[in-house]
C-alpha cells in the first residue's frame, strides 16, 4: 500500500565512527563556538567517558568552561535552571551533552533557557513555541537506545507542580550527534540488552504504526538489521568495537525512523508501566514488544509490515524458507527467540512477573494510564480498556 501523504524531517548532522569525538572541536569552530559547557551524569563521568570528550577537545585547544555532572535519572525544571545558571556564570557559548535520555532531555531544556533567556522553562512548553535557532548544541550518546539525539522533543518534570512538561520544536535538535564506539564500549550487559531492545522497538513500531512512510521505513529496516546482526555478538563479546558502533548507529537510525513516524502501543504500555512500577524503559519495551505485535496481528493489522520485517530480523535464508502466509508470525517468533537469548545472558525479564516489581493488581491502573498515552494514537489497531488489560495479562506470565 502506498502512503498517500507524509512528512520527513531530520536536520541533525551525524558524525559516526572511530575517532568521531575528535571532530567536535572543528564542528564547534564551524559554528563560531569555543567555550562549551559539558553536561553529564555521575555514572558517565565515573566511568571515565567524559575524559574521552574533554581529551579530544583539549588536543585542539578547546577547554570546557564548566562541567555539570549531576543530572539525575529523572530530571526536573530545577536541574535545568541550575545548569542554565552555570552556563551563564561560566561564560559558555555552547553545550555538549554526554549521556543517555535524561542528560539529553535536560540539555535540550538548558539550551532553551540559555538561548531564550529567563529562568522559567515552563513558558516554552508545548509544541512549536520556539521560533528561532538555539545555541550550538552537540550530543554524544552513551547508551545505544533512546535515539534522543535525533528527536525534536524533550520531557522535563516540574516537581513542585507534579507535572511533566513536554517540549516539541525542531530547534531542540542538536547541531550534531556524535557517535563514537568508545562511548558504549563499557555498557554493562543488561543495559546493552535493554537499550538495544528499545531501539528495536522504535524501529519495529515505526515500521508498523500508522505514520509509517518510505523514508522512515528505510531507516527502520536498516536499524533492525544492524541490531539482529550485532546484539548477541556484542553480548558475547562486549569489547567488540565494530559491533558496538553498529548498535549505536542502529539506535540513531531507529530514532530518525520513529521521530518521523511515531511509536505505538508498546510505548503506551511501557510509559505507563515505567511511571507506575519504576521499571527501566528498555526493559518494558523488550517485555511488551511481542505481545503487542500479536495483539495487532490478531486485530487484522500489520500482517504485511511484519512479514516484511522478517527479512531484516532473521535474514534472507529464513525469510525465503518461510511461506508467505507465516512470515508475520515468524517475525514475532524471531523477536521472542532473541528475548530468550537475552534472558539466558543477562536475565532481561520476558514477563511482568519476572521483573519482580509489578503486582498483578496494578494492571488495571497501568491499562488506564496507557489509554491516555500519546503514542496510542498511532497504533495500527484500536484498543480499549479491556483489550489493553488483556495484553497486560498476556504479558504477565
Amino acid at each position: 500500500m502506498s502512503k498517500g501523504f507524509y512528512e520527513f524531517f531530520c536536520p541533525v548532522k551525524v558524525i559516526a565512527g572511530e575517532a568521531a569525538l575528535e571532530h567536535i572541536p572543528f564542528e564547534l569552530s564551524a559554528l563560531g563556538a569555543s567555550k562549551p559547557l559539558l553536561i553529564t551524569d555521575k555514572g558517565v563521568r565515573g566511568a571515565g567517558l567524559t575524559d574521552h570528550v574533554t581529551g579530544a577537545c583539549e588536543e585542539s585547544g578547546v577547554t570546557m568552561v564548566a562541567v555539570y555532572d549531576d543530572v539525575p535519572p529523572d530530571s526536573s525544571t530545577d536541574v535545568v535552571r541550575e545548569i542554565a545558571e552555570l552556563y551563564r556564570s561560566s561564560g559558555a557559548d555552547s553545550i555538549i551533552a554526554v549521556g543517555g535520555g535524561s542528560v539529553i532531555d535536560t540539555s535540550k531544556g538548558v539550551n532553551v533557557l540559555v538561548s531564550e533567556g529567563g529562568t522559567d522553562i515552563a513558558k516554552y512548553a508545548g509544541a512549536g513555541v520556539l521560533k528561532r535557532p538555539l545555541k550550538p548544541f552537540f550530543v554524544v550518546p552513551t547508551t545505544a537506545g533512546t535515539g534522543s539525539e535525533v528527536t525534536a522533543v524533550a520531557i522535563v518534570a516540574d516537581k513542585t507542580k507534579g507535572v511533566k512538561l513536554p517540549f516539541g520544536s525542531p530547534f531542540l535538535l542538536p547541531n550534531a550527534a556524535v557517535i563514537d564506539p568508545r562511548m558504549t564500549l563499557t555498557l554493562p550487559p543488561h543495559i546493552t540488552a535493554a537499550t538495544a531492545m528499545d531501539a528495536l522497538t522504535h524501529a519495529t513500531e515505526a515500521f508498523t504504526c500508522l505514520a509509517k512512510n518510505p523514508l522512515s521505513d528505510a531507516y527502520a529496516t536498516g536499524a533492525i538489521r544492524k541490531i539482529s546482526d550485532n546484539l548477541l555478538k556484542v553480548m558475547d563479546n562486549p569489547k567488540d568495537v565494530e559491533g558496538r558502533l553498529e548498535l549505536a548507529q542502529a539506535s540513531t537510525m531507529a530514532g530518525i525512523a520513529f521521530s518521523n513516524s511515531m511509536v505505538g502501543l508498546v510505548h503506551s504500555l511501557g510509559h505507563a508501566t515505567g511511571a507506575i512500577c519504576h521499571l527501566p524503559h528498555g526493559m518494558c519495551m523488550s517485555l511488551f514488544l511481542p505481545y503487542v505485535l500479536e495483539y495487532n496481528l490478531s486485530k487484522g493489522e500489520s500482517r504485511e509490515a511484519l512479514a516484511e520485517l522478517l527479512l531484516p530480523l532473521a535474514g534472507a535464508e529464513v525469510y525465503a524458507a518461510t511461506p508467505e502466509g507465516q512470515r508475520a508470525e515468524k517475525a514475532i517468533a524471531t523477536i521472542r527467540d532473541l528475548r530468550e537469548e537475552l534472558y539466558d545472558r543477562c536475565k532481561l525479564p520476558r514477563t511482568l512477573e519476572e521483573t519482580g516489581k509489578v503486582g498483578r493488581d496494578q494492571l488495571p491502573r497501568i491499562a488506564d494510564m496507557a489509554l491516555d498515552d500519546g503514542s496510542i494514537m498511532f497504533n495500527p489497531a484500536e484498543a480499549d480498556f479491556d483489550e489493553v488489560l488483556s495484553v497486560l495479562n498476556q504479558a504477565w506470565n
Binding site: 498517500g4 501523504f5 507524509y6 512528512e7 508545548g126 509544541a127 512549536g128 513536554p166 504504526c209 500508522l210 505514520a211 513516524s261 511515531m262 486485530k299 489509554l371 491516555d372 498515552d373 500519546g374 496510542i376 494514537m377 498511532f378 495500527p380 489497531a381 484500536e382
Partner: protein, 183 residues
C-alpha cells in the same frame, strides 16, 4: 478571470461552506451526545470543569468550541472564545479539514499524516479524538463510519439506532432554532 479560475474559486467556496457547516454540526452533536451518552462523559471526566476544547482550521477558522460542565457533559459555544482554549486541535488547511469532515481521512490518520496539530495536553487530545470517533459512529452509517474511525465500536444496533436518531434530531433542531434566530 478564466473559467478555470472561476471553477476553482467556486470549489473552494463550497468546501469552505461545507467545512463551516460540518464544524457546527460536529460541535453541536458533541453537546447532544455528551448529554445522553455515559461513555462520552467517562471520556471527559478527567477534564477540569470549565475546560474549553476547540477545533479550528488554520489560519483563521472555521472552527467550534465546547466547554465542559460540572456533570461532564459538553456545552457548545456559539462563538470561538476570545481567550486561548485549554486544548485546540488545529487542522493545517481547509482542504485537510474537508477531507477529515467528509470522512475521506480518519482522525487518527489525519494525525499520522501531520494534517493536524495539538495545542495542549496530548492525553486530552487523545480523549477528544475518542469522543469524536464515538460521535462519528453514532451519526454516520456504518459503511462511512468505518472509513472515519480505526475500528467501528461494538454498539448493539437498537442502541445505535435510537442514539443516532436522537442525535440527528437534536442536531437538526439546534440548527433550525439557530437559523430562526438569525433569520
Amino acid at each position: 478571470m478564466s473559467l478555470q479560475q472561476i471553477k476553482l474559486q467556486a470549489m473552494s467556496q463550497s468546501k469552505r461552506l461545507y467545512v463551516t457547516t460540518m464544524m457546527q454540526v460536529v460541535g453541536r452533536a458533541l453537546q447532544s451526545i455528551s448529554e445522553q451518552d455515559e461513555e462520552i462523559r467517562k471520556i471527559t471526566s478527567v477534564f477540569p470543569v470549565g475546560f474549553v476544547f476547540s477545533m479550528q482550521v488554520l489560519p483563521e477558522g472555521p472552527g467550534f468550541a465546547l466547554r465542559k460542565n460540572a456533570d461532564n457533559s459538553l456545552a457548545f459555544l456559539s462563538e470561538l472564545p476570545e481567550e486561548k482554549p485549554d486544548l485546540t486541535i488545529y487542522i493545517k488547511h481547509l482542504e485537510h479539514a474537508f477531507r477529515i469532515l467528509s470522512f475521506q481521512e480518519s482522525t487518527a490518520k489525519a494525525f499520522a499524516n501531520d494534517r493536524m496539530l495539538v495545542d495542549g495536553d496530548i492525553s486530552y487530545a487523545i480523549r477528544m479524538t475518542r469522543a469524536l470517533n464515538r460521535l462519528e459512529a453514532f451519526i454516520l452509517p456504518k459503511l462511512v463510519a468505518q472509513l472515519a474511525v480505526k475500528e467501528y465500536p461494538d454498539i448493539p444496533l437498537p442502541e445505535k439506532v435510537i442514539h443516532g436518531a436522537r442525535i440527528y434530531l437534536r442536531v437538526a433542531t439546534n440548527l433550525i432554532s439557530q437559523q430562526v434566530k438569525f433569520a
